[in-house]
Symmetry: C2
Subunit: 404 residues, 2 copies
């Protein structure tokens, strides 16, 4: 029963992806759907790329193990999953009839996934991308959430923050930011908190993309028999006692923070590996945040709200964690300490995985050079130079001085 006593159709939730972070988000959402039976169907579908795993000496299907042992023994071992998180090896079946699709899988798979599910989802489905990042070529930048939205003809927001999957899986408290600019066609059903207030600087009368351009293809509204799909429902879905959610409308700000901070994390690793301490690293973080804001001002002037980056977990919060506790920082520090290139460390230490910071640095530097504005971004340029091994780390402080 809805709050006003009328029967509501419930939102069905699917998570597309079941790695370490995907399973963690699946776990917390399944806990929430069980807690809010007036809003969500209890079962959360989790698409699992099927593989065979060995359990108790026997080969078994990973989906069977998850659905019987309630543990993702391969990607999130020793964490008890809720019974209502249902592993499904069929992507098309997993997304069927879901109003809320949560994307959480490696960046490089998303194009193929969209192709597979297009035409098999509800026309009024809505998405949340937990995949950090943007795709940047010399020609353009695209937020991953927008790439998903465009390819599926749905609206898609983004989740990003100072989050470490294994800690959240163990229910250690942290917080996150969800950016969701509720489409105007859903406003008639969305309640107060779910409605975009037009704070991006224009009146929200038609839905716009992250650059403030009106989206040509009209969205199909979420039918009014569902609980209004806005900030309140998304907070109910993602918030846990150990996972505090802050809701914003600025998808571009959240996405740029999540992507570009990886360049800064590389710089912090270089600086710390060189023997400088927290005070120097902090200076680098501060300059890095200024350049992210600069980038947002230059390329998303209509929509980014700078306070997203200053204030939110997806801004300064993610910056601090990425530059003190995460991969890009750790491996760039290791590179300097061992006197080898970061590319060498990537080849030898990462079991074939990639460091996001390296590709983001390359793509962003190329994009800025193509526009002749690379000198407005001295830190980004510096990291690109270090990747090319033509910058002496001793020169870093000089690059930051205003007077000479």
């Amino acid at each position: 029963m809805g709050a006003n006593g009328t029967q509501k159709t419930l939102h069905k939730v699917t998570i597309v992806g079941s790695g370490n972070w995907g399973t963690t988000v699946g776990k917390l959402m399944a806990e929430s759907t069980a807690e809010h039976p007036d809003v969500f169907e209890k079962d959360v579908q989790m698409w699992v790329y099927e593989e065979t795993v060995e359990v108790d000496g026997q080969p078994q299907k990973l989906t069977d193990v998850i659905n019987t042992k309630h543990e993702n023994v391969k990607y999130l071992p020793e964490i008890k999953l809720p019974d209502n998180l249902i592993a499904n090896p069929s992507l098309v079946d997993a997304v069927k009839n879901s109003t809320i699709l949560v994307f959480n899988l490696p960046h490089e798979f998303i194009g193929n996934i969209c192709k597979q599910i297009k035409g098999h989802i509800l026309p009024y489905a809505r998405g949340i991308s937990c995949i950090k990042g943007v795709t940047v070529t010399d020609d353009k930048i695209e937020l991953l959430s927008e790439y998903i939205g465009e390819n599926l003809s749905i609206y898609c927001g983004a989740l990003s923050g100072a989050n470490i999957a294994s800690e959240i899986a163990n229910e250690m408290w942290c917080e996150t930011t969800i950016a969701y600019n509720t489409p105007p066609c859903d406003k008639h059903t969305a309640n107060g908190n779910g409605v975009s207030n037009g704070a991006n600087g224009y009146v929200v009368d038609e839905h716009r993309d992250s650059r403030g351009q009106i989206i040509k293809t009209p969205l199909t509204p979420v039918p009014s028999e569902y609980p209004a799909l806005g900030h309140d429902v998304l907070r109910k879905l993602f918030e846990r006692p150990y996972f505090t959610v802050s809701m914003v409308s600025d998808v571009a700000g959240v996405s740029l923070g999540g992507a570009l901070k990886n360049i800064v994390a590389l710089a912090c690793g270089f600086v710390e590996g060189h023997g400088w301490n927290m005070t120097a690293k902090t200076a680098v973080m501060r300059r890095g945040m200024q350049e992210i804001i600069q980038f947002a001002r230059d390329f998303y002037p209509e929509t980014v709200q700078e306070k997203t980056l200053w204030e939110e977990s997806a801004g300064w919060g993610d910056m601090i964690v990425s530059c003190t506790s995460a991969r890009n920082w750790r491996y760039s520090k290791m590179a300097v300490e061992r006197g080898v290139s970061i590319q060498e460390i990537e080849r030898t230490e990462l079991n074939g995985q990639k460091l996001q910071g390296i590709s983001t640095s390359r793509e962003v530097s190329s994009f800025l050079r193509a526009r002749g504005v690379e000198d407005k971004y001295p830190l980004f340029k510096l990291v690109d130079g270090i990747l090319d091994q033509n910058v002496n780390l001793e020169d870093i402080p000089r690059l930051f001085r205003k007077s000479q």
Copy 2:
């Protein structure tokens, strides 16, 4: 010779204080004055509270040791000081004829120091306070720089940032923020960069205090035969290859950041001592910064520029270093780990020194309660409650949730 070929009277510089941080700042300023003979007298006076130290088995006066060995063996051992940093045991003699007075000594001594030097300084002297903090009673808040300025009838700015004295003494790179709102009476001599641009929201036609009130006692202008005393000269005095300076006009923002971050650092220590990790600590830092901004908005609405706190080393920079590498954080973490109160740790571990965060928390909480607004500051209130041992650390995440 000045840049325009006319002979200028040189600025004379004195540092009042010679502890670990005072001697470090004396060192870097003496390096700078030697490098800029067109602006500064070469010798920098450093007032040293005279004491007897043992050197090579012989008792000697500390000032003699500093002036002959060029090392502050007691407070900054093993750091070579410039020959032109002159230790002076006479406070009155040390400040005589100096145009630039830099204050760098423990908070509790400043009242007495001001009494001793009043009437013995140039009427047009200008000050920089390196003493972090504000004094807060139930009745009022006062910035230390303003306390100095009022007591000496001079203008006084503030230096604060993500700085650790021993690292700077060893010439490890970091950066700082200097807030100096060039008095209008000095504008006719100050060059472009030295002039306040009125960005605080009012036209700068008369000098105002940190709340935007016009200062009644007129300042004596710096005579025009001196190099214009504004941002350029101060940058020349403080900036070193290993010490990057950012100049701003927002003295209140810089001072509030430097003082209130100590409350946040205590909270971070409690959280980390409890077993939460960097992601949780980052959430606490973020909320802490929001409350510092809230405090600035509530009590310095006319003058504080929020971007000082978001952007400057004295804002987020100092916050990060204080919550990951400094005393208040370290000892509050230790208290939780040992299962004792922070007051107990202060008594047993600090050799009679005090933790600034404890007194700042007490003073600020009392000030907020006197105005009935303590609930607007849940983190500050939380720390006060922990000091009273009536908050369960497990409840911390709940305090941060918007929805229940």
